[in-house]
Amino acid sequence: MTAMTMIEAIRDAHLVAMERDPKVVVFGEDVGYFGGVFRCTHGLQERFGDHRCFDTPISEAGIVGAAVGMAAYGLRPCVEIQFADYMYPAYDQIVSEAARLRHRSAGDFTSPLVIRMPTGGGIYGGQTHSQSPEALFTHVAGLKTVVVSNPYDAKGLLIAAIEDDDPVIFLEPKRVYNGPFDGHHDKPIVPWSKHPLGEVPDGHYTIEIGKARVHREGTDLTVLAYGTLVHVAQAAAEEQGIDAEIIDLRTLVPLDVDAIVHSVQKTGRCLVVHEATRTSGFGAELSAIVQERCLFHLEAPIIRVCGWDTPYPHAHEWSYFPGPERVGNAMQELMKP
C-alpha cells in the first residue's frame, strides 16, 4: 500500500498494465515526452520507449480512429483526450466505430480500447474545461462508461478497463485528482494522503466494471452519485445530520441495478446527483430506473440535483456546481414528512 493522489494512481495503473502486456500502448496530446497536462502519463515514455507511449498531433478524431485500427490489429490502446470537452471531434469514431465494431462484424473485429478524459469543473476552467459528458456515452450501446472518485478505485478500474475486451470510456473528475474535494471550495484542500481511499495497493489488482460501492451506509435516504459528487454528498449528509446511504456507482454502463434497488427499497427515498447539466443527464436514467423498480417503496419523489442547463460559467462556477448546500437542501426536502 502506498498513499497516492488520483493522478499517481492512474499513472501507476498504466505502469502495471504496460508492464504486464506489451500490447498496451498509450498516446494522446502532450502525453509522451511531457507526460500529459495533468501528468497522468508522466515517465511512461522514458520507461517504455516512444513506441509504447507517444505524442500525437492535435486531432481527437485521429487519436480515437487510429486507436480503433490498432485495437482491431490486436493492440490495447489506452488513449487520453486532454479534456472531456474536446472529445466531440472524436465522437463519430467513438459512437459509430469503437462502440459498434464487434456487433456489426459479429465479433470478427473488436475494439478493446480505453479512452481516458478529465471531466468536471471546479478549476475555473470555463465552459470548455469543465464538462461532464457521461450521458453522451451512456446512451450509446456498446460502450462501457466508468467514472472514478478516488485513487484506489481509479487504479483498479483503469487496469480492469485496459484488460476489458470492450471499449471503455474512463472519466476522471479532475477536481478529485489531488484530494477528496467535497465542494467546499473556500476551505483548505484535503490531500488524498489523509483519506483511506488514497491508500493504493502496489502492483496488479482490478475492480470489477459494473459494480457499485457503498460509500457510506445509512438508513434515511439513498444518494446515487459518482465522481466528485460522492464526496459532496458525504459532506452534505454530515452537515445536515442525515443518515444517508451514499452509493458510488463507479460504472454507469453496465449499471449495478441491484445495489441501487437494494438501497432504495431500504431507505424509501432517493437523491440523484451529478455535475453534468440536468436535462437528459444520466440522473434522468437513474431516476427512471428507480421509479420503475421501487415506485411503491418511495416515500417522496426522487430529486435530482445537477448542473444547470447552461454552459459551465467561468466566474460563476460555484453557483453552477451542485455543492453541499444544494445537495443538503435536497436531502432536507426529501426527508420532509
Binding site: 485500427g69 493492440l75 470478427d108 456498446g142 453496465p254 441495478v257
Partner: protein
C-alpha cells in the same frame, strides 16, 4: 446584406461549381496520358518530383491492348487470366444480385460496375496478412481473395447463414480471414483506422501493411485529414486509395475536389507521394499497387493513389440517376471498360479469344447462379428466414450485460 463602407469595392461572389450534369456532356477525365507515357519513379523518389507528375496518368494498356512503358508489371499470363476471371465474377455477381433486388428478393444492393479492376488487381498485388479497409464498392477484394460467393450472398440476403446475423445492410461485409475489414455505413471512418492498423503493425515489428479505401466524394470528410496527418507524421505503412469514379450519389467530383487539379494533389501538402492511375487498366492498377506496397514494406511510408474510373451504375438500388446523369456517360468514358481492356490485352498477346471468353463467361454465370441458388435456399430477409432476433443482443459487448439479458427476455415475450 451588403455592409459596404467602400461603394467602389467589387461585390463578392461565390463560385458554386457548375460541373457537367444533367443534359450536358461530361468533362469526365482530366489529364489523360498515353499508355506508357508516365515514368516510374524510384521507390524513394522525392515527393516534389512525383508531384510534378500529377497531371499524368499511370497507364499500361494502349488502345490496341498492348502493355507498354515502365509500369508494365511482371506477372504471368495465369495471373492475368485470374484477374479477368475475378473481374468477370464480380460483374456477374453484381448482375445476379441486382436482378434479385428487382425480383424483390433482397432489400438493397450496391454494385461496382465499371470499377472492378481496382479492387481485383490490388488484392492480387498485396499479400495474405495485409488488411484492406474498404468501402462498399470493393467486393472485388473479397472475390479475388477467394472468399466464398455463397457466404457473401448469405450476407446480402441477411439469411440464417449470414455471418453477420442480419445486422448489417447488404454488402457491408466483414472478413478478417480474407484481409477485409468490417465496412462501416459511415463514410471515411475507415481511412484513419487503416492508418492506425498500419501503425500497430509497425509498432509491433510486424510485416503486414494496411490499405485504406475511400471514394472521391468522401475525401471531403474530416477523417480523411486525420488519416493523412497521422500517416505523414508516423510514416505508417499504408496505401491510401482514392477511387475517383466521378460521382458521389448525385454530386460530381468537382464539389469534393474544389479548385485543385486532382485528388492526388491532396498528398503533396503532407509530403505523401501520390499517383494518378488509370483504374480501368488492370495492369496499371496491379503495378501501382505493387509500387505502393513495396514502399510501405520497406519503411518508406504511405502512398496516396487516385484511381480514375467511372461509376457506371446507379449509386445504389435506392438511387435514380436519370435525374442527374448525362446520357451515354459510360459509352463516352475515355478509359473504357476494365474487363474489355484486359480481355483485349489477353487477345493481343495471343492468350485469349472469343470462344474461350464465352466459355469462361458461362462458367462464371453458372458458378454465380449455383451460388445464388444455394444461398437463396437458406432464405432471406424477405422470406423471413433471418435467424433468431435474439442474436441482436449478442456482440454488443463481449459478454451480455444484465440490462441486455433483461431486454432479450422482454423480446422473448413479445416477439
Amino acid at each position: 446584406m451588403t455592409r459596404d463602407n467602400d461603394k467602389t469595392a467589387t461585390p463578392l461572389r461565390l463560385q458554386i461549381p457548375h460541373p457537367a450534369r444533367g443534359q450536358h456532356p461530361p468533362d469526365q477525365v482530366r489529364f489523360i496520358s498515353r499508355a506508357g507515357e508516365m515514368p516510374k519513379p524510384a521507390l524513394d523518389e522525392k515527393v516534389e518530383r512525383i508531384a510534378l507528375m500529377r497531371k499524368q496518368l499511370v497507364r499500361v494498356l494502349d488502345d490496341d491492348g498492348q502493355a507498354v512503358g515502365p509500369w508494365v508489371p511482371d506477372i504471368t499470363t495465369e495471373e492475368k487470366l485470374q484477374g479477368l476471371r475475378n473481374m468477370m465474377l464480380v460483374r456477374s455477381f453484381d448482375a445476379r444480385l441486382l436482378r434479385a433486388h428487382r425480383q424483390g428478393k433482397i432489400s438493397f444492393y450496391m454494385q461496382s460496375l465499371g470499377e472492378e479492376a481496382i479492387a481485383c488487381a490490388q488484392q492480387r498485388a498485396l499479400r495474405p496478412g495485409d488488411m484492406h479497409f474498404p468501402t462498399y464498392r470493393q467486393s472485388g477484394l473479397l472475390i479475388s481473395a477467394g472468399y466464398p460467393l455463397v457466404t457473401m450472398m448469405n450476407q446480402v440476403l441477411s439469411n440464417e447463414l449470414d455471418p453477420l446475423h442480419g445486422r448489417q445492410l447488404p454488402v457491408l461485409y466483414s472478413a478478417k480471414s480474407h484481409g477485409f475489414f468490417s465496412i462501416s455505413g459511415n463514410l471515411a471512418t475507415q481511412y484513419i483506422q487503416a492508418v492506425g492498423w498500419a501503425m500497430a503493425s509497425a509498432l509491433s515489428g510486424g510485416t503486414e501493411i494496411a490499405s485504406a479505401w475511400i471514394g472521391e466524394g468522401a475525401t471531403a470528410e474530416s477523417d480523411f485529414h486525420a488519416a493523412l496527418v497521422f500517416a505523414s507524421t508516423y510514416q505508417a505503412p499504408v496505401i491510401l486509395n482514392i477511387v475517383n469514379n466521378h460521382w458521389a450519389i448525385s454530386t460530381p467530383e468537382d464539389f469534393a475536389r474544389g479548385a485543385s487539379a486532382t485528388f492526388a494533389d491532396r498528398g503533396y501538402g503532407f509530403s505523401i507521394p501520390a499517383l494518378r492511375v488509370d483504374g480501368n487498366d488492370y495492369l496499371a492498377v496491379y503495378a501501382a499497387s505493387q509500387w505502393a506496397a513495396e514502399r510501405a514494406r520497406t519503411n518508406l511510408g504511405p502512398t496516396l493513389i487516385e484511381w480514375i474510373t467511372l461509376r457506371v451504375g446507379a449509386h445504389s438500388t435506392s438511387d435514380d440517376p436519370s435525374v442527374y446523369r448525362p446520357p451515354n456517360e459510360a459509352e463516352s468514358f475515355p478509359l473504357g471498360d476494365p474487363v474489355e481492356r484486359l480481355r483485349q490485352h489477353l487477345e493481343f498477346i495471343g492468350e485469349w479469344d472469343e470462344d474461350r471468353h464465352q466459355t469462361l463467361q458461362s462458367e462464371i454465370d453458372t458458378q454465380v447462379a449455383e451460388a445464388f441458388a444455394e444461398a437463396e435456399s437458406h432464405g432471406s430477409v424477405k422470406t423471413g428466414d433471418v435467424g433468431s432476433a435474439r442474436t441482436m443482443f449478442d456482440d454488443v459487448y463481449a459478454e451480455l450485460p444484465r440490462h441486455l439479458l433483461e431486454q432479450r427476455d422482454m423480446l422473448g415475450d413479445s416477439a
